[in-house]
């Protein structure tokens, strides 16, 4: 899934049996189709279940205030998979921890987080806790450390149920077994008595998924759920995640820095940079016609099959700005090949672009729209440097 967009591949070259799984990646005209590859049983509805409005998160530190999230707004529709991409420190994890109410005490959170119309930031701690795990669940990045080493898997799953409902332990364990079956762990009955150290990484992440969905949540926040797993297991886990989502009718916020994962999974994608959303839209248009140079740069930095594998990687030059002393204007302007004076003076708002439902925060999105392949800006520059 790390194939770049618009790379023509001759279908004749591909052995149809060896690449059976990849066949659906190709369009009828033989081009790689980078859009959503996994099909869901029930498509998302238009009704928004979670709405984040102008969320800002700041951390006071000795060196100054860290502006980790600076005004994030998005809506999550029922049964939808919303991908949030961005590099480390772009605020993607912090903004979802804010939704979970799991930020450290010193964090200053502003804005509104509406779950079915109720502002979670204004709720009592008790009410917030009752939503957590029951309506909004979270899957953590590292299944190695997110499971308690001293309790059996069954106990931990039952504990997740008992945190919200009073019921006999036996009933809770029966639910736990059902969930292990659902996530595809063989011999679920026996596995309930296993301890986390007896599970492999993939199985632990499956167990984490089971724990997240055991209370039939409406929203699942998956914070880089496959980063700690190896590639072959990643695909299985993602597929399972989507399957489970359909089984419990949940929406997913999928946080990752892997564009391939987003491409295969997400209905819509939100790109974040320096604590701000810089592009938001349906996955296919965003990946095929990015309207923000940062997104184009990210897409351009995916290793290419072109040039026989000998071509260099094309990273975006420079580093993200410090979140303590942000430059004025667009935070991406120091690294942007299209930057002009207006970029360095004014931070562009997230505004609708040429296609409906596709938003970008860029003064010059029309320049990207004017070329066939927007990654070309990054390509030519890095190749002239090299």
């Amino acid at each position: 899934m790390t194939t770049p967009p618009n790379v023509p591949i001759d279908p004749q070259v591909i052995d149809p049996h060896a690449y059976e799984d990849a066949a659906h990646l190709l369009d009828s005209d033989g081009e790689v189709h980078l859009g959503r590859t996994l099909q869901d049983a029930r498509p998302p509805s238009q009704e928004e279940i979670l709405r984040v409005e102008n969320l800002t998160v700041e951390f006071p530190t000795e060196d100054g205030v860290v502006h980790a999230v600076r005004g994030v707004s998005y809506g999550l529709r029922e049964r939808e998979v919303l991908g949030i991409v961005g590099e480390s420190g772009s605020g993607k994890s912090v903004s979802s921890l804010a939704v979970m109410g799991l930020l450290p005490k010193n964090a200053r959170v502003k804005g509104r987080i509406l779950f079915r119309g109720d502002d979670m930031l204004k709720m009592s701690a008790r009410k917030q806790r009752s939503l957590r795990g029951r309506k909004i669940a979270m899957i953590f990045q590292d299944p190695m450390t997110a499971l308690n080493p001293v309790h059996s898997i069954g106990d931990q799953l039952a504990e997740a149920v008992l945190a919200h409902e009073l019921m006999p332990r036996k009933t809770a364990l029966a639910r736990a077994k059902e969930m292990l079956d659902l996530v595809g762990i063989p011999q679920a009955e026996a596995r309930l008595r296993s301890y986390p150290h007896e599970f492999s990484g993939g199985m632990r992440q499956r167990a984490m998924i089971a724990m997240a969905v055991i209370n039939n949540p409406d929203v699942i926040i998956a914070d880089e759920p496959t980063t700690a797993l190896d590639v072959t297991v990643q695909a299985q886990i993602l597929e399972k995640l989507l399957e489970v989502k359909d089984a419990v009718n949940a929406a997913i916020v999928l946080i990752t820095h892997d564009l391939g994962v987003i491409a295969g999974m997400a209905h819509r994608v939100l790109v974040m940079y320096a604590g701000r959303p810089v592009e938001l839209g349906e996955t296919d248009p965003v990946f095929e016609e990015p309207r923000m140079p940062y997104t184009a740069g990210l897409l351009g930095s995916i290793p290419s099959l072109e040039g026989g594998g000998s071509s260099r990687l094309r990273p975006i030059k420079g580093t993200p700005p410090s979140l303590i002393n942000l430059p004025t204007g667009c935070p991406f302007s120091p690294r942007c090949p299209l930057a002009t004076d207006v970029c360095r003076e004014q931070e562009p708002p997230l505004a609708e672009t040429d296609s409906g439902g596709h938003y970008a925060a860029c003064h010059h999105w029309d320049k990207l729209a004017a070329v066939e392949d927007p990654t070309v800006f990054f390509r030519t520059e890095s190749e002239t440097v090299a």
Partner: protein
Amino acid sequence: MTLSAQASGPDTGAAQGMTIVARTQGQMIRRRFFRHRAALAGMILFGFVVVLSFSSIGFMGIPGWWDKSYLTTGALVNQGKPTLSVVPEFLGGSGIRLGEHPFGQDDIGVDYFAKTMRGTQQSIIVAFLVAIVATTVGTLVGAVSGYYRGKTEAVLMRFTDVMITIPVLVIAAVVGRRFGASGVVVLGIFIGLVIWPSMARLLRGEFLSLREKEFVEAARALGTSARRIIFRHILPNTVGVIIVSATLTVANAVLLESALSFLGLGVQAPDTSLGQLINEYRTAMVTRPWLFWWPGIFIIAIALSINFIGDGLRDAFDPRQTRVRA
């Protein structure tokens, strides 16, 4: 195909003739403990002392197999010298036998074996009460301050600091003087209420590090209440530390009780404890040394054996030691 066969679970391994023994954490700990020779010896010795002291003179009205009481006097036999003999006849000794008064008699003719056994009982009871009370209080204070942090922690830990600055013996002396006459149970509880701070500090440290673990965050993400997180998620992870520290507290408490009784502030006559016996007969060291040595030997045996047990437990619970010594 081979890949999928290997991945299909532990059954496949067994089918291929491999023996896979998965051990739970508890099994590993038990195994490591029983391979620790000193700890095993300590446990046998301590078990022997406990059984001997409680079965010989009986406990709480239940009679034991020894026919003499620690309260009744009898005629002096052999000037009160111990009649216990352990050297067999063929080595020129007088044979293995207990005799009338194996540990001798004190100056008014009370059987000293019965008295020592009574003292041992009392010391053990006090020590265990102290350990239980100190561990409970210390764990609670440490857990709450380590988990909640902030003001709760500040208040609790400053209080703990104050308790630590006051020498234990001084507080225990005041407590012992006031409550020593009320019996060993009250004495044990009060000493326990004095020596919990070190346990609290230890547990706070454990909680400070464990609360940052991802599984705690995961528990919070599940909407688990703080109380459940403390007791169901974090506390079981500290069991090793708690058990080891509680064991060592038992050993310390035996010595502390002995010290208090030696100073005349612990268990009061006519009841007795090991420390009190030593205090009473310290001047008899030269003339009738057995009156000093018997309780002394038992104090050493208890303190040493429990320390060995604690040592073995610490090794057994050490997470860095993942493999079992062959």
